[in-house]
Symmetry: C2
């Protein structure tokens, strides 16, 4: 699934030559191992065994667990993702939030596993941040389109609006481990819309 918040799903790497296929197999192993075994289980040995790629190849190209995680985020960033275009800011923010909810609540959740890993590896933490900044930059168009439609003023900061909408969902589902409610995505999409309407 293409998703705002989904760093990688299986078959993420693009088709290509032998090198691309090796990467695809390695990253599929990473995203399979991480939700199952956690950060401690994500070793070069385990990835080599699962992917069938020789361990010296994995060592040479990815070096260690941090390198594997960083490349998983890079691959996620390279995947196609288009911001929603529902016709209203609230609709777009709700759709973005639904993608966040879906990525954080699927079982197993690669997104949750990568977030947990970011507390164990500085390289993964940086890669996670770059992944989300890239998504915020690309999603900014939902705010500028709303301004062009005259739905909101032109002075709303796109990143602030998106963070106001998404952050409560991450907070509830990642830090609070709260149960999902039907209206979670829309409830906080309205927080983003309220921020946009307030015009800052």
């Amino acid at each position: 699934m293409e998703s705002f918040a989904q760093p990688l799903s299986s078959g993420a790497a693009r088709p290509g030559g032998r090198t691309a296929r090796t990467r695809e197999r390695v990253l599929e192993a990473v995203t399979a191992i991480l939700p199952e075994k956690g950060f401690d289980g994500l070793t070069v040995e385990a990835v080599a065994a699962r992917s069938g790629v020789h361990r010296t190849t994995v060592y040479r190209r990815w070096r260690d667990t941090g390198g594997l995680l960083a490349d998983a985020f890079d691959a996620a960033r390279e995947m196609p993702w288009e911001p929603p275009d529902t016709g209203t800011l609230l609709g777009d923010l709700t759709e973005v939030n639904r993608q966040v909810v879906a990525a954080l609540t699927e079982r197993p959740s690669i997104a949750q596993a990568l977030i947990a890993a970011s507390f164990r590896s500085a390289v993964a933490a940086t890669a996670l941040r770059e992944f989300w900044e890239d998504r915020f930059a690309r999603a900014g168009v939902v705010v500028s389109r709303a301004a062009e439609r005259g739905e909101i003023g032109t002075d709303a900061g796109a990143r602030e609006v998106l963070v106001a909408a998404c952050a409560p969902v991450f907070y509830e589902l990642v830090l609070m481990r709260a149960p999902v409610t039907d209206d979670l995505a829309e409830r906080y999409a309205r927080a983003g819309a309220a921020v946009a309407a307030a015009g800052w």
Copy 2:
């Protein structure tokens, strides 16, 4: 410092008898070890050595790392904390957010260390959630006071308003590891105020 988001600072346990003093020494050791050595360093052995409390006592009463973390959160919840009362909702939410920023950016940050630990221990994750739910319940008065003053309508959900204000700060400082900016606390306090003004 009393803080909305600060689970424990040194000297957190109340004075009392011998049992209370033992607890205080153990929890001081927990909050010293965790930011320094991380979850993996927080063993019963290490806490016994640092606190000077006999290891059989620590084992008997706290059992394991999870038990130590859960008691640290319980002790934090028992600490006095009064919600701000600045006279305006935006002022109160800004003050709450300033406390969140302070707790998450002090070095070392016990709050950050406890959040990281919550990804390693289900007991700690539950304790963290209970700690914050307790804080949200107590802080709800800033929203009801604003409604009594006629500053906002009476239909704003206190928890939603508080989450709209605080979650972006947690998101930026915990998940994005973003640098603190001067206006971070107030910027997202305004998100909470916008939600309250929108009246849901």
